[in-house]
Amino acid sequence: MSMHTLSISQMAKGLREGEFTSEALTRHYLARIEELDDEYNSYITVTPEIAIEQAKAADELIATGNAGVLTGIPIAHKDIFCTKGVRTSAGSKMLDNFISPYDATAVSKLAQSGMVMLGKTNMDEFAMGSTNESSFYGATTNPFNTDMIPGGSSGGSAAAVAALLAPVATATDTGGSIRQPASHCGLTGIKPTYGAVSRFGMIAFASSLDQGGVVARTAEDAALVLDAMMGHDPLDSTSNPTASPATTASLGDSLQGKTIGVPTQFLSDNLDADVKRVFDETRATLESLGAQFKETDLAAAEQAVATYYVIAPAEASANLSRYDGVKFGYRCKDPQDLQDLYLRSRSEGFGDEVKRRILVGTYALSAGYYDAYYRKAQQVRALLTQQILAAFEGVDMIMGPTAPTPAYELGDKVNDPVATYLEDMFTIPANLSGIPAISFAAGFTESGLPIGMQLMAPHYGEAALLNAAHQFQLATNFHVQAVEKVLEVQA
């Protein structure tokens, strides 16, 4: 077995027992990135010096016998997390020259637990997109078929982990940006409860929806990393002040007697046939593990996409005002006056999708439109949250597909933004209501593209979600098949 297919606990065992060093493991991954990433473009920046330095420090710690399970394990960070002394671009020309002077809380927590940073992964510009095509650094490809999108906006993180160019990666999710690429790349991706992972140092897209999380090959790997990322951060006022329960502790729980709701709104007649088939098979597997399914009603979910595409752009329109060419980031050449500086720096520094959302958000907040759009959207958001929480009174979890279709070809929907917005229909409700949700590999299309299923739980139900995915992975081998399929393509 080669090092790049090991799980985190297997790597930790190897490190602990001296089978290999963190430095060797890290160099192995760096070599793979060097060799293979031209194909995927999953990294924007690779940080070999930092990686080797951290790996050596990890090896010293391992030698003392005081290492934790994550000590010396390599990780890639989505390029939306600020990393001290390293370019943090958010996939934008606007921040191509931005070297962060500080670490995001999530990054420093993972570094403190001994993880080794391999580099920064590609993403849709400012996390706005679900194909990874809006990156200033070019599109990322899907390791299962490089003609296909990996999903987005955490497409670089998902592709890097799926292509075995990182064992695990951080990611962020505003409307599905962890779960949808995890689904398209055969991975487990979890978006925790809003407030579980600090947003400090995570470049903001839509502050009330953004949440950091993990993409990994298995639920167990995701749980190990998530436990190290979560926790109250005094620097983030929206961070949950009470400690989130450790998810790894629940990984042995039985699913016997657990009830899982299926919203009728998630299984319409025009759902992709492969996706529907995988849904039915997943349901059967979970039933065989003791779970009971029942129908639930989430009527407001049908307005989720429209609601999201008012609130997220509105917040983004303000969050992105700081990129004005004055203090940092891109500045146009030879500005003639202040107006010209603003106009050209922003016109030249932002890509089309970002500009589109700034315009939509600015419009939604404008005098005369605020009530019809922003206020109305907040009302629908409150209603949807109410409905979801009511649904959880009767069920432990809610299940549905992660995305309405498997990955499609690069360029397919570039000229149809609304079609890509609709891709987020199943994932957005969790962001609007702040609940945790997970996507896990649950099957494949005829042509071998992965399909993920999504589970949602009430606030701070991460442990239940990771355990359900873990139990599913103990009973199936889609997560193993995913690795095999990618290795086949790479061979």
Binding site: F81, C82, T88, A90, L95, F98, S100, P101, Y102, A104, R199, F200, G201, M202, I203, A204, A206, S207, S208, P234, L235, D236, S237, T238, A314, E315, S317, A318, L320, S321, R322, D324, V326, K327, F328, L338, Y342, T362, L365, S366, A367, Y370, Y374
Partner: protein, 484 residues
């Protein structure tokens, strides 16, 4: 036509916290540009605001001081506009749910009457940085040291009817915010900045006229002059068939002129919405009560006490009570044994004018309250005359030496040895034959006035150190003896 002026104020008060409202950076002024601009103040990507509880407490104290409702839940919003000294591209402020609701302030006007000015609300917000337009060639410099300094913006109802009322209100407000310790009150540094909304209407008319807003006045004097200028401008406009345009104006104090900055049509659409990075500010009843207990004496109560306990006349009582540092000075000197009325006269007279000359506040002057007590005690005990006391004060101030030391070292003590004084009196009488003859000839009722000459001579001979009472006694005794 007779016009009525209607004035409402918006006042930005910088809260005297050590650190900024949303970052841990220092609020210290006068340092090199951008020294106090942290990653949060620079709005670096990924940074988040963290609310300074001290700023919240200070805003609440203001609400309590003016008897306003303190809202148990208030909400920060983003006010969006682009400006180089606004790093985030929005100002974090409050709109629909401000921390302080309606209240009022009673203002004693120069004529002694009391005017109630209603406060519409007061909200918390962050200050912007500064653009520096000189010294950078074609460019402007940006200094973000001030960015994020906590402010409360206080908005009054349009209750004032002339510049005097507006200035009296402004002074009363200054007294309140400084006495409860939420602002240093240093107007020259921009610690309090006044925006004045002015309109006029025909006397007796109910409907308000179109208003203008003159922004950023940072002295009582400028405010008074700017109001008078604007009222005259509006009257001229309306009486010559023109119209007042709703606009923002800037007042230039040096030229005593104002100009339009932007009209209503050019006004920004600020697209306010609740800031998703900050939770609503929730304040418990218990916390509000704790803060209420911690409030010190307010100027109005102090003025009352100065009148009832110290017997000061109302005008002087209010004048001192409105100035927290002056009040502390008075209280301290009285507690050290100074006569209250004398001390009050010295504080509003000698000391204020000396302090104004050097542009110092009462907390900064070199002549301490203890010294004032010492000096007034010496005066009361006849150690110095009131004329010499002023001299002692001047030396004390200049040389930073206590009054008793000054009296001692400069030999300014009044002559108390009556034998020595008697010899001088005799000498003066002996050398003024003509004046003595006139005195003797004069009718008794005119003699009193004629004593002045002899007193002056004796003062001259003693370099002012003689006790005037003693001189009068001795002189009367000696001269009257000659008359018999």
């Amino acid at each position: 036509m007779n016009w009525q002026t209607v004035i409402g104020l918006e006042i930005h008060v910088q809260l005297s916290t050590n650190t900024k409202i949303f970052s841990g950076a220092s609020t210290q002024v006068g340092e090199a540009a951008n020294v106090n601009a942290s990653a949060i103040d620079l709005a670096l990507p990924g940074t988040l605001p963290l609310l300074n509880k001290e700023a919240v407490d200070k805003a609440i104290k203001f609400g309590l001081a003016i008897g306003a409702e303190v809202n148990p839940v208030s909400v920060f919003e983003r006010k969006n506009y682009f400006y180089p000294d606004l790093p985030k591209g929005y100002q974090t402020t409050q709109l629909d749910q401000p921390i302080v609701g309606a209240g009022s302030i009673d203002v004693t006007l120069p004529n002694g009457s009391v005017k109630t000015v209603r406060i519409h609300h007061a909200h918390l917000e962050e200050d912007a940085g500064k653009s520096v337009h000189e010294g950078f060639g074609d460019c402007s410099g940006i200094d973000l040291n001030r960015a994020g300094t906590p402010l409360i913006e206080i908005v009054t109802e349009p209750d004032m009817r002339n510049a005097d009322e507006a200035v009296a209100f402004a002074k009363a407000l200054h007294g309140i915010v400084t006495s409860i310790g939420i602002c240093d009150g240093d107007m020259s540094q921009g610690s309090m900045r006044f925006d004045v909304n002015i309109s006029i209407r025909p006397m007796g008319e109910d409907k308000l006229g179109t208003r203008t807003e003159t922004k950023n006045l940072n002295s009582f004097r400028f405010m008074e002059r700017a109001i008078e200028l604007e009222v005259d401008r509006q009257i001229d406009l309306l009486e010559t068939g023109g119209e007042v345009t709703q606009e923002t104006r800037l007042y230039n104090a040096d030229q005593h002129r104002s100009r339009a900055m932007r009209s209503k049509e050019e006004a920004n659409d600020y697209r306010y919405f609740p800031c998703p990075d900050l939770l609503p500010v929730v304040v418990s009843h218990e916390h509000i009560e704790e803060l209420r207990k911690s409030l010190p004496e307010l100027p109005a109560a102090r003025a009352e006490r100065y009148q009832s306990d110290l017997g000061l006349p109302s005008k002087i009582a209010i004048q001192i009570a409105d100035d927290t540092a002056a009040s502390q000075y008075l209280d301290a000197s009285v507690s050290k044994g100074a006569d209250a009325k004398l001390a009050a006269n010295w504080i509003t007279g000698e000391i204020t004018s000396r302090a104004n000359n050097e542009d110092l506040s009462f907390s900064e002057i070199p002549f301490s309250a203890d010294w004032l007590a010492e000096l007034l005690t010496a005066l009361k005990n006849g150690v110095v005359s009131s004329k010499i006391a002023k001299e002692v004060f001047e030396y004390s101030w200049q040389d930073n030496q206590s009054p008793n030391k000054v009296i001692e070292s400069r030999g300014l003590k009044q002559m108390s040895d009556s034998g020595e004084l008697e010899a001088i009196v005799d000498d003066v009488i002996a050398n003024a034959e003509q004046q003595v003859a006139n005195y003797i000839k004069a009718p008794a009722e005119k003699r009193g006035k004629m004593m002045g000459f002899f007193v002056g001579q004796i003062m001259k001979a003693t370099q002012g150190k003689a006790n005037p009472k003693q001189i009068n006694q001795l002189l009367a005794q000696k001269l009257n003896a000659l008359c018999e």
